[in-house]
């Protein structure tokens, strides 16, 4: 089966900024895939290249097997993009916006499907309202509807829940999950790590334009270390443990352990240093820990991982 998205050695430079450096990844059909990374990591640039909004300096990319340059018309038909910015055309109503967007994709008589997505996104009552008059959340829904109007097999959402209230976020995720269940490939970028954790099967992490991690969610969470030991102490953490402290300060310490067998020697070290444990918690790391750890690695390690 042809990959939904295939990226091979993509590089892109904006002036002095190397936005993407030799990025390769493959996303299978039907996957729910997350692109994670801090601001400026290159997530939006990568999406823009796939969508034809930006052009790669080197490398190739395909959407559903169609080269984004040579077969750009088929590639764009296969792709639905929800842009990050809350953009809209103030001249038109919701229904006009969706009809026009259908037409750009060469579709006519798309009314039934337009009604269906308006219904699913709870836009029915706003169908004849001018875009200007909609709230931010409603505009976001219209952007999602616009991306779906040509029934693309691959849907890319660039931080769709940024600045969206909790209720809408839940509704959007439920809707996107349903699309994925119906067989659509979904790719999203997000700052909300718990979202990626809850929704996505595989995750790519980008840092300074490079892929620094690419694996299933389960493997990522398992890989670097397996346990977090949270401590609140009276007394100072002994020097050999303090060097490994990932806590956020305020008297709370966080030690990362590879296995349960490390718990005992750690406690021994604390006891012999005269520390009294006021509070202790042993927990499985979540994606946020993995994310922060990977992002904190020095440059050399980043290059090595890519």
């Amino acid at each position: 089966m042809v990959a939904a998205i295939e990226v091979r050695g993509i590089s892109k430079r904006f002036g002095t900024l190397q936005a993407l450096e030799d990025v390769s990844l493959e996303i299978g059909q039907g996957e729910f895939f997350a692109l994670l990374g801090p601001n400026g990591a290159g997530k939006t640039t990568l999406i823009s290249i796939l969508a034809g909004l930006a052009r790669a300096d080197r490398g190739q990319a395909r959407v559903m097997g169609y080269d984004i340059r040579a077969d750009y018309r088929q590639a764009r038909r296969a792709l639905g993009v929800v842009p990050q910015e809350l953009v809209f055309d103030p001249f038109f109503t919701v229904r006009e916006t969706l009809r026009i967007q259908s037409g750009y994709f060469g579709m006519r008589g798309n009314e039934a499907w337009i009604e269906e997505i308006m219904e699913a996104l709870d836009l029915g009552s706003k169908a004849n309202v001018n875009m200007r008059l909609l709230s931010g959340g409603m505009k976001r829904r219209v952007l999602v509807a616009q991306a779906l109007v040509h029934k693309p097999p691959v849907i890319v959402l660039d931080e769709p829940t940024a600045g969206v209230d909790v209720e809408l976020r839940q509704a959007l995720w439920e809707f996107i999950r349903r699309l994925n269940g119906d067989g659509h490939t979904v790719v999203l970028t997000t700052h909300y790590l718990e979202e990626a954790e809850a929704l996505c099967g595989r995750i790519a992490m980008l840092k300074l334009g490079r892929v620094v991690a690419l694996d299933t969610r389960a493997n990522l969470v398992r890989k670097p270390h397996s346990l977090n030991l949270r401590l609140r102490l009276s007394g100072r953490l002994p020097a050999e443990l303090a060097a490994r402290d990932h806590g956020r300060g305020g008297g709370e310490h966080l030690l990362r352990l590879r296995e349960y067998a490390e718990v005992e020697p750690t406690l021994t070290a604390l006891r012999s240093a005269g520390c009294v444990i006021e509070d202790m918690e042993l927990e499985q790391p979540d994606l946020e820990d993995v994310f922060l750890e990977i992002m904190r690695r020095p440059e050399a390690a980043v290059a090595g991982a890519a």
Partner: protein, 251 residues
């Protein structure tokens, strides 16, 4: 083809939704020019022997309003879309650069024609105007609106800010329009400026439009038509090359 038709429809719908601003206002402006200038100059200027100055003025005003509005239609639509970011709605779909060009330029032609017809209809109330060769009128109206629609497309794509489009309009389009014989026959100019005017494609288009009404002109209408379509060809070529390369649109 459906993509082009939709873009064309969207661009026409866009100016239809604000008709007072996009059609009524320029018609009123032209009418004011007509009333003031013909009141001041009627009888003092004789252009062609049998044509009254007020009648002579009308085709120039029609052409001027078509030029300005065709330019404004494509340039303001594009710069607004770029600034607000909704340009992505036309960049994400599988539109070819030809469809993109034709959609914006033909909508500009429709806007130019709507304004031109409005000016003409309003002028006919006050001025007795012959109509000798309607085919020339249609030909020059199309060439002029399309040329300015394509220039507006170039300006809208190239500009990063609205004031850059305004500069294009104020320092290029306006001077070329005013120096093209809207208000006078270039035969009333000194010889040097007559030669300069001959190089101005806007002059050819205004002069050519007058043939359609009066059957008379400063220059042969065929030559003017040649200049108009050659200019249209060159400017369209530049616009298409820009769109094909993705200049300022696809980074």
């Amino acid at each position: 083809m459906i993509g082009f038709r939709t873009l064309f429809y969207k661009e026409v719908l866009r100016f239809r939704k604000v008709l007072t601003q996009t059609v009524a206002a320029p018609v009123l402006t032209s009418l004011l020019y007509l009333l003031v200038f013909s009141y001041l100059l009627e009888g003092r200027m004789r252009v062609y022997d049998e044509v009254a100055y007020s009648a002579f003025l009308v085709p120039g005003l029609v052409m001027m309003s078509m030029l300005q509005n065709a330019f404004a239609n494509s340039s303001s639509s594009l710069i607004q879309s770029k600034i607000t970011g909704n340009i992505v709605f036309v960049l994400l779909p599988p539109l070819t650069y030809w469809e993109f060009f034709a959609g914006y330029v033909l909508a500009a032609v429709v806007r130019g024609a709507a304004v031109g017809l409005g000016v003409l209809a309003a002028a006919w109330i006050f001025v007795d105007l012959p109509l000798r060769h309607p085919a020339w009128i249609l030909g020059f109206a199309f060439a002029a609106s399309a040329l300015l629609g394509a220039l507006g497309l170039i300006a809208g794509v190239a500009a990063d800010k609205i004031d850059q489009v305004a500069a294009f309009q104020n320092f290029l389009i306006m001077p070329m329009t005013f120096l093209s014989g809207v208000f006078y026959s270039i035969h009333s100019l000194p010889p040097f400026w007559q030669d300069v005017s001959h190089l101005n494609p806007f002059f050819s288009m205004i002069d050519g439009l007058r043939v359609g009404f009066f059957g008379r002109s400063d220059v042969s209408p065929l030559a003017s038509m040649g200049v108009a379509f050659a200019s249209l060809g060159i400017v369209s070529g530049i616009a298409l090359a820009m769109l094909k390369s993705g200049y300022k649109l696809r980074f």
